[in-house]
């Protein structure tokens, strides 16, 4: 090789000045029937996004799942195919989903079809009929879908973690058993609809290429007649995490282990929230975190490890998840515990905090930059009693968090002593090494 001077290193260009978070134009109205409507203008494309959040705490699991599965199956005047076709005609679509907090109808369509989408939505809300044949079809489909889910390691690991974390709380079981689904009849769905699908405490969010006041008028015109008293099930607060032996769920023949760790967290409005978000980023909440750099980029144990604070109405929890090769399951846990312990006992470096802070602030801008992102954000906030202006407050708080505050929350929330750990994998192969690290309790897959 000839002796040429190495090229002089090129410096990383600096960032330009941060742009201030600018909230889009919005309006809100509470209709006489109790429905809250929030409209946000983002005119970049000629579409409108729709999210209807209805409280669904304490809904019977199988009936709730079937309600979501069949809500769009027919009304007095339209069959399921007609509902879909009429929505499609305005470039639209609606889908329903349920979780322990909320029943949600979501969709999007051409903005020229907003009135029509709202009309169809109103007809479904006030007149869904749950026709017997459609309910039968959807019942079988849901049972099949649950069976497929139950063969997915990610689903099984999640199921085991929820049960371990929530004990007797309604959050503990979130997927119904096939037999319970098979027993659901149309009459039960009509009853549940009458009881739970009502406007009080519901929030409709519309985001798109439409003046907010005009969107509110359209929603009021279409939905003012939606009524029916009902109840919304209050959920008890989620129980605190109870650390204990590692729960090893046996899945013989697994070529990977699914590692799940739950740690305590706080709601968005809690004074520790912003600092905990940053501590989570430093630990494992984004790619440039200690955990990802360690178990993926240094050791190659895993492909997509990540940690995330999950906010629910009755409580928040931090969940760290990684799928790791069977033969390195115990070493991966060891490194995970090491990273949690290191963050809980030593303050992060200032540049680590700055990087996490910029990421947190930047992704707020990115999340708001599409109609769909904005709609989901506004809806998630509204479901927890917050409005978009919380985003500006939150950004201001993120900007001020110090190294000491991150160290303090890390010690309080991320200490490995507080962790609840579940691993799904081949117990015979991974059990002995795990037992060398921590007490282990082994369960067969699918244990009640």
């Amino acid at each position: 090789m000839t002796a040429t001077a190495p090229p002089s290193p090129r410096p990383l260009p600096p960032l330009g000045p941060n742009r201030r978070l600018k909230l889009p134009k919005q309006a809100e109205r509470t209709l006489a029937n109790g429905l809250t409507v929030i409209a946000v203008r983002r005119p970049a494309i000629p579409l409108v996004e729709l999210r209807l959040w209805m409280p669904a705490g304490r809904t019977n699991l199988a009936r709730g799942a079937m309600l979501a599965q069949t809500m769009l199956s027919g009304t007095e005047t339209m069959t399921s195919v007609q509902i879909a076709a009429e929505l499609q005609a305005v470039g639209g679509g609606l889908s329903a989903g349920i979780d322990p907090d909320r029943l949600m109808l979501s969709g999007a369509g051409l903005v020229t079809g907003l009135d029509r989408m709202l009309e169809i939505l109103a007809e479904v809300l006030t007149g869904a009929t749950y026709p017997g044949k459609e309910v039968g079809t959807e019942r079988d489909r849901l049972v099949d879908r649950i069976q497929v889910a139950q063969s997915q390691p990610a689903h099984l690991a999640r199921t085991a973690l929820l049960r371990r974390v929530y004990g007797r709380h309604p959050y503990a079981v979130q997927t119904p058993e096939p037999d319970h689904v098979r027993a659901v009849r149309p009459a039960a769905l009509r009853r549940l609809h009458a009881e739970r699908v009502h406007p009080a405490e519901a929030v409709l969010v519309l985001v798109g290429d439409v003046q907010p006041e005009r969107a509110l008028d359209a929603a009021e015109k279409a939905l003012a007649a939606w009524n029916g008293g009902g109840h919304s099930g209050e959920l008890p607060p989620a129980p605190p995490l109870e650390p204990g032996p590692l729960l090893l769920v046996d899945r013989p023949g697994s070529v990977q282990s699914s590692l799940r760790i739950a740690l305590p967290a706080v709601p968005r409005t809690h004074p520790d929230h912003a600092a905990l978000q940053l501590a989570n980023l430093v630990f494992g909440g984004y790619f440039s975190s200690r955990w990802v750099e360690n178990i993926r980029e240094d050791k190659g144990y895993t492909y997509g490890p990540h940690s995330l604070i999950e906010h629910s109405v009755a409580g928040s929890v931090l969940v760290a998840a990684a799928e790791v090769a069977t033969e390195v399951t115990a070493p991966a846990l060891l490194e995970t515990t090491y990273e949690l312990g290191r963050l809980a006992s030593l303050p992060p470096k200032p540049d680590e905090l700055e990087q996490a802070r910029q990421y947190a602030l930047g992704t707020l801008q990115l999340g708001m930059s599409t109609q769909a992102g904005l709609a989901s954000l506004v809806s998630a906030y509204a479901g927890n009693g917050l409005r978009l202006d919380f985003l500006a407050e939150y950004a201001a708080r993120l900007a001020k968090i110090s190294v000491d505050e991150v160290a303090e929350v890390a010690q309080r929330y991320l200490a490995p002593a507080r962790a609840v750990t579940v691993i799904l994998g081949d117990a015979e192969r991974v059990g002995p090494a795990l037992s060398a690290l921590t007490p282990v309790r082994t369960e067969p897959d699918g244990a009640e």
Partner: protein
């Protein structure tokens, strides 16, 4: 039912194009409605260009492009993007590999610096290679080996439909091939395919065109010029007799099937190709579509059904040869033969009786919504324009797609359906080995 027809709207994203002296093509599409940008670099090399004995190499190489470059240590790329408030990724397709970031607008120059630096040369070391082989193996385990229906049908159908290595092989790669890859292979792959003349850079969002042009010249201008390699013709003759294979998936609880038929060349015969893209939606988009109504709702012979063009569901970023696919999951004990026969019957009915009033228009309206929604994110726009520039020299086609989809006539859709004959069909069946 009212056959109302929605007017198909369009976007008017401005497009600026130029080519640097080193052959790098650039597309800019400014939009100042939010303070964010999307940056995409697309290289004209994908799974089909992998050498024999090196299955999975294009994807493995994508991982290596994140492992440091001329002026950047390992891990620096991630830290600099995320430390600027952005997100990043890359992906490997049959005909291209992309690298991209979405960032607050004040990070434009940083993103250009990072992309230019790895275009000049990634750090290809033994240690990084071994590490990323391990990571890719975990990716394959999580997406294919440890879960039911892993790789169905995108990995399992091509070997039934195609005969040549480029089109038929497993793009995720075998563990043997991945493990035997060398740093020399990687260096060779970079030299050959990651040439400035084989790449397109697209930037979208909150940019000033003059400023962005200047910054691009500053950072990419001295990337050494290397011409694009000659792209081989990957064409294969169409099937003349039905092909059908089956395999047992030990984890799958329910049977499944996927079928595919070859379609016209997406690039050289776009007008002939587009009706197939519309046909896939007429057949499968939602509860009002033909096959969902018949197979899911009426016969209850399948529990879910999907249809699309391109093995990765990518009708506007794939080259010839490609296919229209239909895939379905069946209830326990479901009869795959019967499902395939019913699909044939419904295709015949479509050809003979044509579409119902309003059926085509509503399908097109919904396709327009999907297209517009995908381009709402600055990154979606940059990526699509980069690929349209690379494969067609026509990034502005993005603005025209909703209208062009809307102009496809019933006659063209019927004619497309008429070609989906059993003797041109390749199918792969999943036998449920995990049924309880």
């Amino acid at each position: 039912m009212a056959a109302r027809r929605s007017r198909i709207p369009a976007t008017k994203y401005p497009v600026e194009r130029f080519t640097l002296d080193n052959g790098l093509r650039v597309v800019l599409t400014p939009d100042r409605s939010a303070p964010v940008i999307g940056v995409a670099v697309v290289y004209d090399v994908g799974i089909r260009s992998e050498p024999e004995g090196r299955t999975g190499f294009a994807h493995l190489f994508e991982h290596l492009m994140f492992q440091g470059s001329e002026n950047l240590e390992k891990l620096a790329h991630f830290r600099h993007v995320q430390g600027a408030g952005g997100t990043f990724n890359g992906s490997t397709h049959h005909d291209y590999t992309d690298y991209f970031e979405t960032l607050p607008a004040n990070a434009l120059e940083r993103a250009l610096f990072l992309e230019a630096d790895r275009m000049r040369g990634p750090r290809l070391t033994e240690e990084n290679l071994r590490n990323q082989v391990d990571v890719v193996k975990e990716e394959i385990r999580v997406n294919v080996l440890n879960r039911p229906y892993g790789g169905f049908p995108w990995l399992t159908l091509p070997p039934v439909m195609f005969d040549t290595f480029p089109n038929a092989h497993d793009g995720y790669g075998s563990f043997d091939d991945l493990e035997s890859a060398t740093v020399a292979d990687a260096a060779d792959f970079f030299r050959r395919y990651y040439a400035s003349g084989n790449a397109v850079l697209a930037v979208s969002g909150d940019i000033d065109v003059a400023e962005a042009t200047e910054l691009i010249g500053r950072h990419f201008g001295d990337v050494p010029a290397r011409p694009a390699p000659e792209r081989p013709d990957f064409g294969e003759p169409d099937l003349t007799a039905e092909r059908r294979q089956a395999y047992t998936d030990a984890l799958a609880p329910l049977p499944a099937v996927a079928s595919a038929w070859r379609v016209p060349d997406p690039i050289t015969d776009f007008a002939g190709y587009l009706p197939y893209v519309v046909l896939a939606e007429v057949l499968t988009d939602g509860d009002a579509s033909r096959l969902v109504e018949r197979l899911v709702r009426r016969d209850r012979s399948v529990t879910s059904l999907g249809g699309y063009v391109g093995f990765m569901g990518d009708p506007f970023d794939v080259r010839d040869p490609t296919a229209l696919l239909l895939q379905a999951h069946l209830p326990p004990g479901g009869d795959v033969d019967k499902v395939l026969r019913t699909i044939d019957e419904e295709l015949d009915r479509l050809v003979t009786d044509g579409l119902a009033a309003g059926e085509l228009a509503r399908t097109q309206a919904r396709m327009a919504t999907h297209l517009l929604r995908d381009t709402d994110a600055v990154l979606g726009r940059a990526l699509r324009m980069a690929v349209l520039e690379q494969q067609r020299g026509e990034p502005g086609l993005l603005n025209d797609l909703p209208r062009l989809v809307g102009e496809v006539t019933e006659e063209r859709v019927r004619a497309a359906a008429a070609t989906l004959r059993p003797e041109r069909r390749a199918s792969i069946e999943v036998i449920a080995g995990g049924a309880k």
